[in-house]
Subunit: 418 residues, 2 copies
């Protein structure tokens, strides 16, 4: 198989399909999503069988148990996929929105129209439900998609792709609106991320290694999500009940997620009073604590944190704790060691809260709420294609709007430039 | 000189200055811009002398006359720079705008805050006025800037940089908010565009060769401007007086600009009637015409266009003309051969105008107005750092807002995720 020719053909087909899906109206796009939903239901046993085949192969190949778990499509997860699809149908269509029209001194009337990006390449690892999720978000936002899942999920992804194609065709749209790459050759990824003629943006979903490789090699813009090294800072004027509740939730609600707290910062004047109770609460959840020198002076039984700890996204029941002298030190620590994902201040002090909001350089900045709220569903985006740690284009959870762009519209009556 | 160490030091200084300028209020930023203005006035003769030195050297080195012209800072251009600076002072400050606040079912209140991008690297060619323009736009939008001008303008840029530094320091801001790279070694560009630790976005301004090289080698997101292959389509229901006026203005108002028309598309039913008069008008301006087969049948004296003509941005008094069968063929031609910059339909037909707006995939799409309006000043952006032909982040003219991003803000009362 000539991978380069194959990928270039997928690209050309996607570009051509993108013109058609870009001008499809909301009714047509929703009808296609509903037809995909119905095809998923009709093909359910076939898809589950294909998935079982992937899971068996994964087990035989000693796939990491966490990956094996993510690969598996049980009944509950299948129902979750269908529910997600229905939610995307219910979301408002972002395309065609016209805003900000004003008359300019020349007499032209200027505004903006929201339009699809064009062709979106999604590269992801083992979870096969991403195939349906990504396809439905791209379709609803008027984009064509090229999906490249992990080799360990190939049969599952192909079975889901068949249902998607059936739905698209059923609704009178070309099957090439959503194409799943049918080779596990890694050269296909290289071809996709450098095909700037046919691909407008790449969204990688997976581990840091995958994303770093793609960012390094891509010639197409990438909406990337690196790590989530999130902080909670408990200010001296925090409501201590809120502080305890938020810190515990941010760390222990789920460990393996990017919006979990990884470092707790605590204001010096309240550290001695607050830390023992907090440590007890974390201990009772089995969280390992690693503290700065001042923290260890208050909690002598815990481990000492090293410089590396402040940079680390544990994704595990481990928490670094640092006592800071004041708000300034907290902000500096977060901006230096953090990953600009989600950071929280717990305080009742108006001016310090306001300063934290303005100066912390993260995609989500919160006062008196858990980091765990940084999520497409919690933010009402309906679904998310990813969480961007980039600053340009889309920051934080990326929903339908992140898959669109705005073009300028000019209405005139024959105006010319003088 | 160790270029890599030097650039990394500039980067670190910029990153640190970016934290300070990001939290500077509007008054401080405007005071700094005014102080830079006053320093420019005070250093005027020194800057002009430095420029004369560059121009003399350019002449001695047989610099291309067009580049030599762009390099020159005469009195009129110097006054233009000062006027531009005063306009930037008068622009509203985009930073801190908070929008879209709503309560979510969890009780958190969610919205967005407009924030600077951080550190912006600008790489440009001979025009020294870009130094001041880019510096003032970055400063007003709360960003630190690293500016790398062409080697032929080094003395001019350094003299302007001294005025900028003097102004910044005078207003109590660090001089490193705006740094001009003081080496002409091309390795400095390579270091700048790969320093993703210190630089958030690169804006290249210059020829296609420069921009393609930067896009290829950058590891930092690039807001790029490639070519402007703009079209005017005259629909069968065009007002013919408007059509003639717009076509002539779009081509002949200025030739060497990216928003000039390069191909005229004309609807078949009106081609025979309209083309002779249009050809006369273009001939009288000295514009060379190149036509498709049908055009040449109507205008037998003109050259035949080749396939390459449809892709070409002439930036010169040359115009390609094609007769199309209908709106669909016009849209397909524009989307295939165009550069997605600015395209116009001249029509009085409601539905065809509406379809053109929706389906032409360009950063500016216009009805009954000249392509020449696609410009930061005409759009009221005050000034532009460039015109983006990208689809992500900023599309079309990029003003202050294009140098900003939005972060999510969450206000809570102690909410945790259930």
């Amino acid at each position: 198989m000539d991978i380069s020719a194959y990928m270039s053909q997928l690209g050309a087909q996607a570009r051509s399909a993108s013109r058609i899906i870009a001008r499809a109206n909301t009714q047509t796009k929703n009808a296609a999503l509903q037809a995909i939903h119905d095809a998923m239901v009709a093909h359910r046993s076939k898809i589950i069988a294909a998935n079982t085949c992937d899971v068996d192969a994964g087990r035989a190949n000693d796939l990491d148990p966490a990956l094996l778990d993510r690969l598996q499509l049980n009944d509950e997860r299948f129902d979750g996929m269908l529910e997600g699809l229905r939610q995307v149908i219910a979301l408002p269509d972002p395309i065609g929105e016209m805003t900000d029209f004003t008359y300019r001194p020349s007499g032209i009337q200027l505004g903006k129209m929201r339009v699809p990006l064009g062709v979106i390449g999604i590269i992801y690892e083992s979870r096969p439900n991403v195939t349906l999720e990504a396809a439905s978000l791209c379709l609803k936002s008027g984009n064509a998609a090229i999906l490249r899942g992990g080799s360990e999920a190939l049969h599952s992804n192909q079975a889901i792709a068949m249902a998607i194609s059936a739905g698209l065709v059923n609704a009178g749209l070309p099957a090439s609106v959503v194409q799943v790459v049918e080779t596990t050759d890694r050269a296909a990824v290289g071809a996709l991320i450098t095909d700037s003629e046919h691909v407008d943006v790449i969204v990688p979903r997976g581990g840091k290694g995958l994303i770093e490789r793609i960012t390094r090699e891509a010639r197409v813009p990438v909406i990337k999500h690196l790590d989530g090294n999130c902080h909670v800072f408990i200010d001296r004027d925090a409501d201590q009940a809120k502080a305890g509740r938020i810190a515990l939730n941010a760390k222990t609600h789920r460990y393996g997620v990017c919006n979990a707290m990884e470092t707790l910062l605590i204001d010096a004047p309240i550290a001695a009073k607050l830390l023992p109770a907090l440590a007890d609460a974390f201990n009772s959840k089995g969280v390992e604590l690693r503290g700065c020198e001042k923290t260890c002076a208050i909690l002598p039984t815990i481990l000492a944190a090293t410089e590396a700890d402040w940079f680390t996204e544990y994704l595990a029941p481990v928490l670094a704790i640092k006592v800071v002298n004041d708000l300034s030190e907290a902000i500096d620590h977060i901006n230096h060691y953090g990953s600009h994902h989600t950071d929280v201040i717990v305080t009742e002090h108006y001016s310090r809260g306001r300063r934290f909001l303005a100066e912390v350089d993260s995609s989500s900045v919160m006062i008196n709420a858990s980091t765990r709220f940084a999520d497409g569903f919690e933010y009402g985006l309906g679904a998310e294609i990813g969480i961007s740690t980039d600053k340009i284009h889309a920051r934080g959870p990326v929903g339908l709007e992140g898959l669109t762009s705005q073009k300028w519209i000019v209405f005139g009556d024959g105006q010319i430039r003088q």
